[in-house]
């Protein structure tokens, strides 16, 4: 798989995670273009790279990896990639998928927030159970040549 194919796959998986559908060609092209323009999206070490590789497997894996990274590796390449994609989605014609802007009942908002919080907490626990050991192993292997 070439770098470009890897980035395209990553973009598709991460877009499914964030908005539940496939990205448009425009979003994919901007995502790939950003990786050429800046170094922040390049993993800095083995641990960072394994986190991205794990996240790339599926939206569920991406969510667990991100939940772990938010707490334990907040400036990692994975977080930067996801924030980048969020920024592209919210400035592209797909912004309505990201944020529908509909009125909702007050109770539903609270219920939704409570559920989101609970799912978020579970994701941190599960993500750390999966990716904590992975990153520990990556670190134990020492610096890459």
């Amino acid at each position: 798989m070439t770098d470009r194919e890897r980035l395209e796959r990553e973009c598709r998986v991460f877009t499914r995670l964030l908005v539940g559908q496939a990205p448009t060609e425009y979003v994919v092209s901007k995502y790939v273009e950003a990786h050429r323009a800046a170094t922040a999206y390049t993993p800095r070490d083995r641990s960072d790279r394994w986190l991205v590789a794990g996240a790339r497997r599926s939206p569920v894996a991406a969510r667990l990896a991100d939940a772990h990274a938010r707490i334990f590796a907040p400036r990692s390449a994975l977080r930067c990639k996801l924030v980048l994609l969020f920024a592209i989605l919210e400035t592209s014609p797909m912004h309505r998928r990201l944020e529908p802007n509909r009125p909702r009942a007050w109770a539903l908002v609270f219920l939704g927030l409570a559920m989101s919080g609970a799912v978020g907490a579970l994701a941190v626990a599960a993500g750390t159970a999966v990716f904590g050991p992975v990153r520990l192993v990556a670190r134990a292997l020492g610096r890459e040549p």
Partner: protein, 536 residues
């Protein structure tokens, strides 16, 4: 006396000084680096339409190099500078500075740093002017004149005791639903907020038109303020510069970085030396009267270089000031479940004033409800994965707001500007700044009052999300050539005339002897007009 004036800079002070002396029959030559803004895109489109109609919307909002993406970092700002405003901060080649305790922003754009302001226009009152060698009465007509030129909206309300009311105030903009609920809650709890917290809420004064003025159109609620108002409803000084260019007695030389002036007999400034930013030999301009209005840091740099070149003296200027700003995000519980208005004025509509034991230490806050702001800088700061954070911010978007709390500053001898002795070219500015040792206590007390006030307005302040911005971030720089009544080295007269160089005037914030907790731009413009009136 000659009626020729050489002005350096094109920011708010420079253009309003120039506009005023031109009316008096002077010939004005203005030197400026003069970076130009990019062309406006789809002027009739609101924010959402831009995302759907531009051929490359992410390119517009995030930039070709994606530098508009606010990436996870330790210094947490709630928004980045949009790419359409990058020209404001683009330095000339080779520009450099050193700094300790201060994160300055410089501008070399037409219109200067105020090209990226949020339009807050707050006159200083007599208490805040007590360190100045004149009172509010001396500034009042110039506040009115500048308001007539640029268009300022506002109301005479609970903030009026702190924000003097001048002439030519336009009707305030309609409140967005979020700001309206805050105002309703304030009215309900007004007595307690006023008496127990000594806090007052009212309309901000903003240089955004609520009705047409000349060639400028009234605000169309496009939600594009941060990216650059598409109809010029939000005033920026480059609009005045464009008007000046039509005046026959006005000469504009762009593409020049003024380095220094030369000093002749009796300290008289004889000429100015400027470096073309595109390269080439230095250009010189003869001086009858020189007006430095390049902003405190740049004007000071020009003086420091000039003195070093003429006398070998390495001057250290004391008393640099800037407003500390703290961002306090909040959630308005009454807005939960409501959609946010996509077509809305983007900047602050409400202000908050907190009295202090010393009235000069009044604290001013601007309340911005987040409507068309980017969400990725906010979502990434929540303690969840981004999918969860997205769901949370989506649910809370219409309830999000932020208070930008401004604190006053005083001149202190340790806060200095000098030329960096390690720079062999003797051109690099060195900035040193340390906050007042009492600042942490003051911040804690005031921010406690802000939180308690917000709670009474039915708002929740999420713990740990308050952001103390670094010194330099407010770009309200002042104080290194203070106006004094009694003289003193590196001071200026009440007419902002240098005491060292009799034909030099400094009409930017560098001459302010005190910095109240208010956006300084309106007073910069009014003071520049005052100097042009009383000294020319």
């Amino acid at each position: 006396m000659s009626r020729r004036v050489l002005v350096v800079g094109s920011g708010p002070s420079a253009v309003h000084f120039a506009a005023t002396v031109l009316q008096k029959g002077y010939e004005v030559t203005l030197l400026d680096v003069g970076r130009e803004p990019p062309p406006k895109v789809l002027p009739g489109a609101h924010m959402t339409a831009l995302k759907e109609q531009l051929p490359d919307p992410s390119g517009y909002f995030l930039g070709e190099a994606f530098d508009g993406v606010v990436l996870p970092a330790l210094d947490r700002e709630y928004y980045g500078i949009p790419p359409s405003k990058n020209y404001v901060f683009e330095p000339p080649p080779g520009f450099d500075f050193r700094t300790d305790g201060f994160e300055p922003l410089f501008s070399f754009a037409q219109g200067g740093l105020a090209e990226a302001w949020t339009g807050g226009c707050y006159p200083f009152n007599d208490v805040e002017l007590s360190a100045f060698p004149f009172s509010y009465a001396a500034l009042e007509p110039h506040y009115g004149e500048v308001a007539r030129r640029i268009g300022i909206t506002g109301e005479v309300d609970d903030l009026a005791p702190f924000l003097p009311v001048h002439e030519h105030l336009l009707p305030a903009h309609p409140l967005d639903p979020h700001s309206a609920t805050l105002m309703e809650a304030y009215r309900r709890h007004r007595r307690r907020i006023n008496q127990a917290f000594r806090t007052h809420v009212g309309r901000t004064r903003v240089a955004t038109l609520s009705q047409d003025l000349g060639e400028r159109r009234a605000c169309t609620s496009s939600g594009r303020c941060l990216w650059g108002c598409p109809v010029d409803a939000l005033y920026v000084p480059s609009q005045t510069l464009r008007a000046l260019l039509r005046e026959p007695a006005f000469r504009y030389h762009a593409g020049l970085e003024v380095l220094r002036f030369t000093i002749g007999e009796g300290g008289t400034v004889t000429e100015v030396q400027a470096r073309p930013v595109s390269g080439g030999p230095l250009q010189t301009f003869p001086v009858d009267r020189l007006v430095l209005a390049a902003g405190t840091l740049s004007s000071a740099t020009i003086v420091l270089r000039s003195v070093l070149a003429a006398t070998g003296e390495r001057v250290r200027l004391e008393g640099l000031m800037d407003n500390r700003q703290v961002l306090v995000p909040f959630l308005n519980l009454r807005m939960f479940g409501r959609p946010f208005p996509e077509e809305s004025y983007q900047y602050h509509l409400l202000g908050l004033g907190i009295e202090a034991a010393d009235p000069a230490e009044y604290v001013h806050g601007q309340i911005t409800t987040l409507k068309t702001a980017m969400l990725h800088p906010i979502a990434q700061q929540l303690p969840f994965d981004l999918r969860t954070s997205l769901l949370v911010t989506r649910a809370l978007h219409s309830a999000l707001g932020v208070v930008n709390v401004n604190f006053h500053d005083r001149r202190r001898s340790g806060n200095t500007l000098a030329l960096d002795p390690s720079d062999s070219d003797n051109e690099r500015l060195q900035i040193r700044y340390a906050p007042d040792p009492d600042e942490p206590v003051r911040l804690r007390q005031v921010l406690g009052t802000v939180r308690r006030t917000l709670r009474l307005l039915a708002c929740f302040v999420p713990p740990g999300m308050q952001h103390v911005r670094p010194m330099g971030a407010s770009v309200h720089y002042a104080g290194v050539f203070p106006m004094t009544a009694n003289g003193g080295r590196w001071t200026t007269t009440s007419a902002c005339q240098s005491r060292e160089f009799p034909n030099l005037y400094l009409v930017d914030g560098s001459t302010f002897p005190f910095l109240p907790a208010k956006n300084v731009t309106f007073t910069l413009m009014a003071n520049a007009a005052r100097v042009a009136t009383v000294a020319f």
